[in-house]
Symmetry: none
Subunit: 118 residues, 4 copies
DNA sequence: GTGGTCTAGACCACT
DNA sequence: GTGGTCTAGACCACC
């Protein structure tokens, strides 16, 4: 058996910010805190903060403008894709857990439509 | 922000065994490996293995009979409940991730029924 | 015939503490000595001390707050139940010893009301 | 704190036999098994069996007749006293447990007369 | 062989 | 400082 290890901090922070973007708490084009400021907010090293922005940039969710700072992408199509990716991931994870119980996608639909409060 | 830590080994192993019980890979009443044997299988200390069985016992999924070993509970009602709990958890986790995206249970149903392959 | 064995140390200590809680020598919400301190007081290993607190916690008599310590439950209803349980146990044990002598509960009442000093 | 130790086997066996005498399972004057026979029955050493009879004899509950064996005392007054002693002990033990709960003999009577099933 | 108990000592996370 | 986790190894009781 393989034991799980903690995800790197930069990934945890990046994921949190992705969630904020997908949910709209961070708007398209909005300015993100600078590296030093983020380092304080998240109690991390400035180098780690930079790693976070690099990750978000590579995913096309942020843009860094020299001398101005880092901004949420204003590519609404990309942002829309992000939402779809996250929904897709959430559903995929559920189906992956349900499968070993012998439950299919149809079963999931049935359970969701049942009156139980999940 | 709170950073995640690794789940304790005993919990990871217990969770893996729970999954095996829920999926039927481990049958009701079946004997589980002894503490020392499990310690070898999972590369853990016998005391940690005992911790695993204690957890499963507290959840009513195993029974330990002194001098004989530990066995999967033969309480089929409990086992059935376990399956329901796990399905419920999987669905609940999904809804929790979908909510911040502005997606409801009805949206989840719609997405599951769409032709996309998740 | 089955010969009696000594009760495990953790149970003896737990029982002593239960008695202190039931008698009010330990008040609801009161802080109990930390694991290491208890280990010294009772001349046991810190791990055994932890076993004691685990037992008391499982019985709902203590609450452990990480980084703070272990405290007597402030659930007065539970504490009241404990008193009733202990009284019930004491009476049950007596009746169990009296039964083989052909003495019933009514006899016990009669003996208690007699002027003999027990 | 003082930890309990196991009672000596001879005492445990003697106590078991006392209970049999008090309850009438062993009648006044009845012959008890010989030392070797008892040793087998209780899985103890013949010397330990002898120790058991010595104890019972000192308490006036048995009589040893050279060449014949050991017999339950036919002193019915003594046997009656035994019954009273045992009842007294049972009640005394109960009161000793009730005292720290702030419960008196009168409370014990009240509890015994209540409709609860102990 | 099994699990149950106990000791000894390490490291980590939380407060 | 606290409790939580993990390791290592001992001895006992039960089957």
């Amino acid at each position: 058996m393989e034991y799980s290890t903690t995800a790197p901090i930069w990934l945890q922070v990046a994921t949190a910010i992705k969630a904020d973007i997908a949910s709209g708490r961070l708007q398209a084009g909005e300015k993100l805190p600078g590296g030093r400021e983020m380092a304080v907010q998240f109690s991390i090293n400035p180098n780690t903060a930079a790693r976070v922005y690099r990750e978000l940039e590579e995913e096309g969710l942020c843009e860094t403008r020299r001398g101005l700072g880092t901004f949420v992408s204003d590519d609404t199509a990309r942002l829309q894709t992000l939402r779809r990716e996250m929904a897709r991931d959430a559903i995929g994870a559920m189906l992956k857990k349900l499968a070993p119980l012998g439950l299919t996608r149809a079963d999931a639909v049935r359970l969701l439509q049942s009156e139980e409060d999940f």
